[in-house]
């Protein structure tokens, strides 16, 4: 099972990519995907408490279960306007 991960703003800069494909295990949640990324990109750690996340274009809580093919987005604090 795989998901697409979308990264924005500084998270994209840290990862060096705005879109990643990552494998997920059964029972995966947004939080487990985040933890895997934070191991891969240690600078993600500082966003642990401030990111928002979305699944398939809906804001979603970190404990939300995800499924094969989902698009998961991690959003640093926003600054539009």
């Amino acid at each position: 099972m795989r998901v697409t991960v979308r990264l924005f703003a500084r998270l994209r800069d840290i990862a060096g990519a705005g879109e990643l494909e990552r494998p997920i295990a059964p029972g995966a949640t947004i939080a487990s995907v985040w933890r895997d990324l934070a191991r891969e990109y240690p600078d993600f750690a500082q966003y642990e408490r401030s990111i928002s996340s979305a699944v398939n274009l809906d804001y979603a809580r970190m404990d939300r279960a995800i499924a094969d093919g989902d698009e998961i987005a991690f959003l640093p604090p926003v600054s539009g306007g």
């Binding site: 979308r6 924005f8 703003a9 500084r10 994209r12 800069d13 401030s50 990111i51 928002s52 979305a54 274009l57 809906d58 804001y59 987005a73 959003l75 640093p76 604090p77 926003v78 600054s79 539009g80 306007g81």
Partner: protein, 160 residues
């Protein structure tokens, strides 16, 4: 042809088509209040050279739809147009344009102010500021559309 009421993208913003989109043919709306956010040449002591806006565009449109629904709940007769720009903006260019039409002016001012407060709280949009000597991603609010305290803040500021 009128532009869509909600939009996000790289095209320069203009008020006139949005005013036209919500007020043309309006017969019972007496007040139109508009907001334009412009790129300023300084920010917290830095000399800004330009801004690049990043956005998660399809989620931004859904956030704008949510803001429109919140406004429709609070000010049932209000009409809203809300567009955000993305990409590189020079000093003085508009990053966001909001137009609200209502029967009376108090509601138009309030709903227009509410809209920009909510954009800043929940729209997945990010400002990459290029200033003299460096660049920085501006990080404001942790976006959480269900945060009722944030929503109450926006309403309090708008309806004070």
């Amino acid at each position: 042809m009128n532009p869509p009421l909600l939009g996000i993208g790289p095209a320069p913003l203009a008020l006139a088509p949005l005013v036209q989109a919500i007020a043309a043919g309006a017969r019972d709306q007496g007040a139109v209040v508009s907001f334009l956010g412009l790129v300023r040449d300084h920010n917290v002591g830095r000399r800004v050279q330009h801004i690049v806006y990043d956005a998660y565009e399809p989620l931004a449109i859904k956030a704008f739809e949510r803001i429109a629904a919140e406004i429709a709940g609070r000010w049932p007769a209000a009409r809203l147009a809300l567009h955000h720009r993305t990409g590189r903006l020079e000093i003085g260019e508009a990053s966001v344009a909001i137009v609200v039409a209502t029967a009376h002016r108090a509601e138009a001012y309030a709903a227009c102010r509410y809209a920009i407060e909510r954009v800043k709280q929940i729209a997945p949009v990010w400002k990459h500021e290029y200033f003299e000597g460096g660049d920085v991603w501006i990080e404001g609010a942790t976006a959480d559309p269900d945060d009722q305290a944030a929503r109450a803040d926006a309403e309090r500021v708008a309806c004070a």
